[in-house]
Structure formats: C-alpha cells, structure tokens
Point group: D2
Chain length 227, copies 4
C-alpha cells in the first residue's frame, strides 16, 4: 500500500459560500475520496486545524506522498513544518504534489529556489485546455489531449519556477493565456509535481480526467505503476 | 561581422495571391531586409531556385547562422544539402533557426531525432499571444510579455519534439490552443532555435517584436551580444 | 508480461577469442538469461544472422522494449530496419536501450539527431566507477553508489549527444576519464536509455549490479514497477 | 563596463599556513586581479570583515555579477545578506558564480532548493581532469578538453543539486571520482553557475584555463560576449 497524506488548509471552506458550494464536504475529503477508491492507496487527511498542521515527524515517517493545497493561509504554516516536509522529500525520497495556489506555499518555494510568483493578467475565470507535452510520461498515461476544463482561474506566465525536469502539461486559457500547468522535478531523493487546476470555487477535483492525472502523479512520485 | 544566410523555399510566393499580398518582395527579402539593418550582420539569401539550393560547401564555410523557412517543398531539398547543413551545425558550430512550417523540414527533423509532427485541431487562423518563460534568456531580451500577434495559423500540441534545452516562449491561441513556440537546443557544437510565428499569408515578419526576437536569436546562435 | 527483444550483432562472438572467452554462450544469450530470470519479462533474442535482422514489423508489434548491442557491423543493419525501430519508439512508445558501442548504431544516432561520436583518449581498458546522479530515479533504484567495474574500455567526453532529459549515471575511469554513462531520453511516445558498460571482451553483463540496472531500465522504459 | 563583485570569506587566509602560501595576497585579490585585467570588467572585492559583509543594497544595485567563495564561515553570513543576494538574482537578473566549497553556502542552497551536500569518499587530494560536455556553450569557449589540474580536493557524487539546465563540465579525479563541476542554471531573471575547482590550499585560480572559464562565466552571466 502506498501511503498518501492529503493536506488542505481548509480555511475558505468554512466561511466562503461559493467554496462551500463547490466542496461541501471539504476539499481534503473530496481529494481523499477519489484517491481512496484506488485499491493500492491508503489515504489520510490533515489540515491547518490539526496540531502541528497534522504534519508531525511520526506522520511523515509513514507517508510516501503528500498532496498539498494552500491559498490564503500559507503564512500560518510554521517553518518547522516546512523543514520537516523538505527533509522528507530531499533526504528520504517522499513525493510532494503541490496543487493550484500552492505554487506559492512555503514548501514549494523552498524546493524550487525561486519566487514561484505568477501573473494574473486579467483577474477572472474562463475555460481552460490542458495539453500533454510528454505523451510517454507516466503522469500522462491514459489522459485525453487536451483535457477541457469548463472554468478555472486564469493563471499566466511568467511563472517564476526553474525549468521543469519534465514539463508534462501546458495550459491555455480563454483570452490566450498560457501557463506551465504540470511540472515535474527531481529534488534530492524525492520527486515533486506541480499541478495548476484546482481553484476553490470550481469543483475541478470532481472531474474524472483531473482525478486520473492526480492518481498517475501519486504513483509516479513513488515510482510504482498503477495496477 | 556575423554572416547570416536567409533561406526560403520561395514557392507560394510566386503563385498564391494572399502570399504575394503578405510578402510582395518575397519573404526571404523581408527577412533579409530587417536583419541587414543591424550593423553587425552581413546577410545573404538563397532559395530553392538556386543551384544546389544555394547551400553549397563554399557558401556554408562562410556562414555563421542559417534561417530556414520551408513549407510545401520540403521534399525538394536534396538529402545532400540536408547533410551539409547538419554537418556544419553539429561539427562546426553553425547556428540554425527553423521558422514556422520548417518544423517539418528535413534539416530540423534530422537534428531533433523525432517526427516533429504537430496537431492542427481546428484548421484556421486566430489571435496569438507569445509568452516568455525565461526572462533572463538572451533571445527574450527586451521582448514584451506577451507579444500579441493579430492573426496566425493555429498550431497545437502535441508537437513531437525532444524536450527543449531551453523553452523560451510558449504560444496560446484563440480557442485555448497551446504550442511550444520558441525552443532552443544545443546540437553538437552548434545551436538550434525553432520559432513558430511566420505563416505565409500573414505579414508577421513585419512585426517589430518578432523581428527583435529573430535578431536576438541570431546573436544567441553565435554566442555574441547585440550591440 | 513485458515483452523484451534482446538484439546483438553476434559477429565478434564467432571468431574473436577473447570475446568467446567472455561470452561463450553468445552475449545475446547472456543478456536474455538474466532478464528471463525475472518473472515479469518474456524475452526473445535476434541477431544479424536472422532474416531482416529478426526485426520485422510482426516482431516489433509484439515487443515492448528492445535492448540493442552493436559494434563492428552497424553498417550491415538495413535502413529499413532502423526506420521500423524508429517508428515503433516515436509513434508507438516502444522502449529502446542502447548498449555500449551502440552509441554509434544507426538507430541511436537516428533518435538523437547528433553524431553520437565519443573520444577514446588512450585506447585501452581500465577500472571504472559508475556514479548515480539521480538517486530517486527508477533506473537507480537499489543500485550502490558507486558501482565498481573491474575493467572496461575507457570511453571519454566529448560524447556528442543531446543533453539527456535525465542523466542517471556518470562514469569515471582510471586516468581521470569521464563519460555520461547512463542517459535517459523521451523521444515521441517512447523512451530511450543509453548505457555505457558492456565491452565485448569483459564479462560485464555477468556483474550483478549491471544486471540490476538493465532490469530497472526495462521496467522504466515501459512505465512499470519492478515486482 | 560589467560590474563584478568578488566575495571571499577571507578566514583561512589569515591563519592557515598552507592557505597563505597558496594565496599570500588573499584569494579575493587573486580573483580580482585576473578579472580586472579584462578591459570590459570593473571589479571590486568584499569579505566577511566588511560591515554587512560588504553586500549592501547600494552595492548590489551597482553590481552585475557576484563571484562567491565561502568555506568555514558559511554560518556567519547573515540571512539578510542572503535574501538580498537572492532577490537581486531572481528579481533583477544579477549573475551569481558559486565557487568550490560555496556549494554549501547559504545563497547557493537558497537558489537550488536542495541540500547541495556532496560526498568526499576518500578525504584527500589528487589530480583532476575537467571535461567539456557542451562545446558550443559560451562558458566552454576556447577551453581545452580536458583541462588538467595538478591537484585538487577530490569531491564526489552524489552531489545533491537539481539537474542543471546546462551541465557544462564534468570532473574526474584520481581514483575514479566523478563530480558535476560546471553547472549552469536559470533562476528567475538571473543566471547561476557553480564551478568546483578552487580549494584554498592549491593555487588553482592562478591556472590560465581556470581563469578563462571564470571570465567566460562572468560574460555569460550578463549575456554579453567577450571582446
């Protein structure tokens, strides 16, 4: 069994109506739900509400991959938690999958060595197509090209990340926006994958293709094949 | 002086009205025109009409960079000419800049080792934005982000190229198309740059930003700085 | 079952005493032997002696990965065979593992787009250490760092290959020689791995660590995990 | 004029006899000496002895490239100085050249996002050969392949860095040690180059080829050509 920890900050989920509407059960539970349906994964969740963010040394010692979703509360994640995650990735080979606005999470910035800032030229939302650039990559296996997403927050380049070791997906948005939406990295003994879709007001994580990509990414991060 | 050879097949320019309208003087002369205006470049042209395509050993021995534009007549370029170009790049360090439909030229395919096929999901034309992914790259110097192009042929991924050593530009098109539009490679002692804009029915090579990118690319290919 | 085709030219094995001494059963049989011992692989062999090199469309249609070892007879492999292999890699996602002097095989050069020439500064043989640069890579899993090889032909840089997508191993040789010894590439839908050890007069393919690397590479090429 | 700041910690230079013997004038002055001899560079120096390490906002505002050499006193460089350097690289496009034991400097680790630890299998010193992997790269221009260094500290893989955007040099050491000795990165708008030679007890920075590499690297970092 591959042990997966789904971490969401779980802040807007409590008070913001359109977020509650998109993910009434809490986004961490949505993510854990479809991941758990895979027979090879053992999935737990944690949020900012847990002591030590639920990211203790004991917890990480029995975790193979972390999915991380943060947005308005990046600053509330203690530096000690960040260093703990960082050490597990670089030294112990744990996988880390940074989702959507987690491009700006402390742990992703720590692992990239750049600002990880991006541009939002026209704040807003629109249709997105997600294009596969590496059809032979394990994360792209079985994924249609393109994946069409009805509505997403429209991110834009310049996205200040190091050149990915493997740029698996590019996104294009209504209005000719462009974004490196699926970027894979080796970091020490571990693997890191950034994936852009997942704005909190659109139930993107309910879309089958997006779920398939995340399942692929979990298996890729631990170097296993999906059954 | 950096010696530049502009090569265009010069076929549609003779008979196709909308191509003649876009480039009445011939596209090779348009390209040579703005390149020549740069004091550091000595520019000549050649086409399919020239004996041996105008790409002889003698010519290449005094050439630092070749810009190559082909489309309907890739097959008419003799293999011997392709091997000559190839050898100059890999062994002698000549630069090669492949333009637009030259993604499918023999010389570009030879240097890439892949099919270099691309997708045109909806044959047609539309607005394009060209996004800079490496703001510190010499080819991106002084280029606005994005560059807006009023109308271009809408190419799409999957574009079957090796992962670029440096992905300098991504294009997004009306309708959420996406394309790796500026891709840089080391090949042996030489450098290769693929640049997507330049469909024959739109006078894209008259656009100032596009000209600046090509000038930057020429200097990058020979490892010199623009004056 | 993953279907593996081991191809060796099988030329020096017939007449050259020190090659016969190293691989009395024929190198293709040595390779097939330890690969077959893995329960997940179904392994066949072919050589230059087979009609059409044993590399027919029918054969490739049921092959997931090819291991290729050639040396003195690269030129005897028909171009049609090379194009057949090439198409299966780029279009159908077949894996290709090029061994030792196959750096100069037609198929490897075709897929790289460079000369693939290397330097042999002091023709001869010496001790080699093989160093892991990507400890989290599937091909490096379980491999000691370094792997010590008692005697090998001493290859040297400059090795004229494109920058690998993943440089998994570097070799250093007695006398301070250096060589990119384990280089992984995406090519279209397929994956390519070059691996330097395997000179015909040293029984390197009997060494446990080398066998483990090749087993890892086979599974990596098809995107599966070793059992 | 390109403005270069040479920063050395200048600690062992004061008390350790074999360091004083190698660089009686102080290593920062050795470096500044040969760099200043280039007509296009304006060179200043700073050390740990200067207030704020000599790395103030004012100083950096007029600096194009920093060469950084640290070893025993990494911890004495204040975090504020590190963030200042980091911001200038990522946001303003300043170049940073990290020398030898500066693989473990705060600023290099900050920019890499990995531990940057390396292995010293057999503590000691020996002959080194430095091999060019990208003969067309501006940093390799005019550099013999290999460069032979009589004696250096023998570093080894695994060197915990991200895969370089451009791996320009590999080192091999007596005893079959191997090390990625010249590694180039884009980081935001800036460029970073790590270069391994330069142990404090061997006067490596007096060697002509090493000086040429560093001059090339300075010009590469600012995107200019050497005159």
């Amino acid at each position: 069994m591959t042990k997966v920890l789904v971490w969401c900050e779980n802040v807007q989920n409590k008070t913001q109506e359109n977020v509650i509407a998109a993910y009434p059960e809490g986004m961490h539970n949505t993510l854990a739900g479809f991941l758990s349906a895979d027979g090879g994964l053992s999935v737990t969740t944690a949020t900012l509400d847990d002591p030590d963010c639920g990211v203790t040394d004991e917890k990480l010692a029995e975790t193979d991959v972390v999915l991380w979703w943060g947005h308005v509360a990046h600053g509330q994640v203690p530096d000690a938690v960040v260093e703990r995650l960082y050490g597990r990735v670089v030294t112990n080979g744990m996988g880390l999958i940074a989702l959507h606005s987690s491009h700006f999470s402390k742990i992703f910035k720590r692992l990239m060595g750049t600002s990880c800032a991006l541009a939002i030229t026209k704040p807003g939302y629109g249709a997105e197509k997600l294009w596969t650039l590496l059809p032979g990559h394990p994360i792209a296996r079985g994924i249609p090209n393109p994946v069409e997403i009805e509505a997403e927050e429209t991110y834009n380049e310049y996205f200040d990340i190091p050149q990915p070791d493997e740029l698996v997906f590019n996104a294009a948005f209504e209005g000719c926006g462009s974004f490196r939406a699926g970027a894979a990295y080796h970091r020490g003994r571990g693997k890191v994958f950034y994936f852009q879709p997942g704005h909190e007001t659109y139930p993107v994580y309910r879309q089958k293709e997006v779920q398939e990509i995340l399942l692929n990414a979990v298996y890729w991060a631990v170097g296993k094949a999906r059954g």
